[in-house]
Amino acid sequence: MLYDTLIAPFAEFEFMRRALAGSVALSLGAGPIGVFLMLRRMSLVGDAMAHAILPGAAIGYLVAGLSLGWMTIGGLAAGMAVALLAGLVTRATPLREDASLAAFYLISLALGVTLVSLRGSNLDLLHVLFGSVLGLDDATLLLVAGISTATLVALAVIYRPLVLECVDPGFLRSVSGAGGPTHIVFLLLVVLNLVGGFHALGTLLAVGLMMLPAISARFWTKDITGLVVVATGIGIVSGLVGLLISFHGGLAAGPTVILVAGAAYVLSVLAGPEGGLLSQVLPRRHLEA
């Protein structure tokens, strides 16, 4: 019974094993990125960037159909273009970054949907928007794993300036010119992970595996290392449980994975020891000093 429920789907079906490997790889990269987005109060930036990569992916699709390489390059180019243009407008005008990013991602989204509708059926558009975690081939898996690896290495390298830019950007400016380059590398990592995610989960849901585990982790630990570990763990467990539920329940896999991450968020809000609702209601004796 336990074997049939938990193990058999993965033991018997290769597409399930691939989907699990893909969601683990995605979580390893997207989890830490989501933590830093949340700590930088950029939780919605992930969503905006996810929309922003659509026209690039669409152009790649127009050029070569559902081609991994072309759609990846297109998505990366569009995401970085939107991030850099929004940054440029923010620095050159009184507009704040959230406003300029909103403007560019909306234009980008509309452009993307228009381009996709020029060629192809609604089914193709659905693939771009919602991905196909159960259809990961070798190349896509390698891409997702490569992006996760690159993300972890890059985060290790920029960790200190990134933290400093979050905590005290004025101080970082006064001791080093690394703030700008660090911000750009971080945005590149955001875009890379979203591009990796959109092959599996689509542009709209890719950000789910990035943000929901990170936001949930905030209710379980105060420590930044702990946040990264817990967020990654929640992402991996969401992938595993989501795939099993979708398999047994006949549900769409990608959205089910994100819904499980959403359930983890609700559980965290309710029961998390670090500011969760229950911890606030249950009386605990204060300490002596």
Binding site: V163, C166, V167, G170, F171, S174, K222
Partner: protein, 246 residues
């Protein structure tokens, strides 16, 4: 020409072409301890930003012969995100960044230095505390510990004693005196004139322009202070271009 730590040459600083402080010339001597005083809106914080390189001059020049890397700057309200989950130790160790580089790790000696800096500001035992749990005075002590580790030759303090208790103020002033004794150059924006008279040999009195600059006793006269108080704080939206600007 005295040995200059900071040199102003007809310096005007401001925002949107409106000067916050204009036509300042002179030299802050190396190893001097200078207070910058003046009413609210007089341009004191703007001057600190200008020296630190965080604000470009509208005209004139501000030179730091030792280079900007010789400057440590504690702004009035550091734009610190106090909800960020890092410890006091990690915050203070950021002061070593110039020495270790952005990517270098901390050696045992570095960790000892952080411990000593925390001890010097009375925060031993606070190493693992998240910065969000510190009081205002404790946070200011932690920021002074970070300044200590920066080991800078020019130290800029913008209202470092505001909203802290008298004991903390006395402890931080003792650190300022220590820096002065080590022949570092300290420039501090202050409001309490008694503190200035007691602890700061030199004073720059500003009111959107320099009013007086020199020995504290000669600067903080009733006439000069009255002149400074009569300063117009409001910007003139119809002001003409300054004829003295280069």
């Amino acid at each position: 020409m005295p040995d200059a730590a900071i040199r102003f040459d007809d310096l005007t600083l401001g925002y949107d072409r409106h000067p916050a402080l204009h036509h300042l010339s002179g030299v802050v001597r190396r190893g001097s301890l200078t207070a910058v005083v003046g009413p609210n809106g007089a341009g004191k914080s703007t001057l600190m930003k200008g020296i630190a390189g965080a604000l470009s001059p509208l005209s004139g020049r501000c030179e730091v012969p030792g280079g900007r890397e010789s400057v440590a700057y504690l702004p009035q309200a550091a734009d610190l995100d106090r909800s960020f989950p890092i410890s006091v130790f990690d915050l203070v160790s950021m002061g070593l960044m110039r020495r270790r580089g952005l990517f270098g790790g901390l050696s045992r000696a570095d960790r000892d230095d952080v411990g000593e800096a925390l001890s010097a500001v009375g925060l031993t035992g606070f190493e693992r505390r998240p910065i969000g749990t510190l009081s205002g005075g404790q946070m200011q002590r932690a920021l002074f510990a970070r300044l200590l580790l920066q080991d800078a030759q020019v130290i800029l303090l913008d209202e470092p004693l505001t909203a802290i208790d008298s004991k903390t103020a006395a402890d931080l002033l003792a650190l300022v005196q220590r820096w002065h004794a080590e022949a570092r150059t300290v420039v501090a924006v202050l409001h309490d004139l008694d503190t200035v008279r007691t602890h700061f040999p030199e004073t720059l009195l500003v009111a959107r322009e320099p009013v007086a600059w020199g020995a504290t006793g000669e600067v903080l006269t009733p006439e000069n202070l009255l002149r400074a108080r009569r300063m117009s704080e409001a910007q003139d939206p119809y002001a003409r271009a300054c004829a003295r600007a280069a």
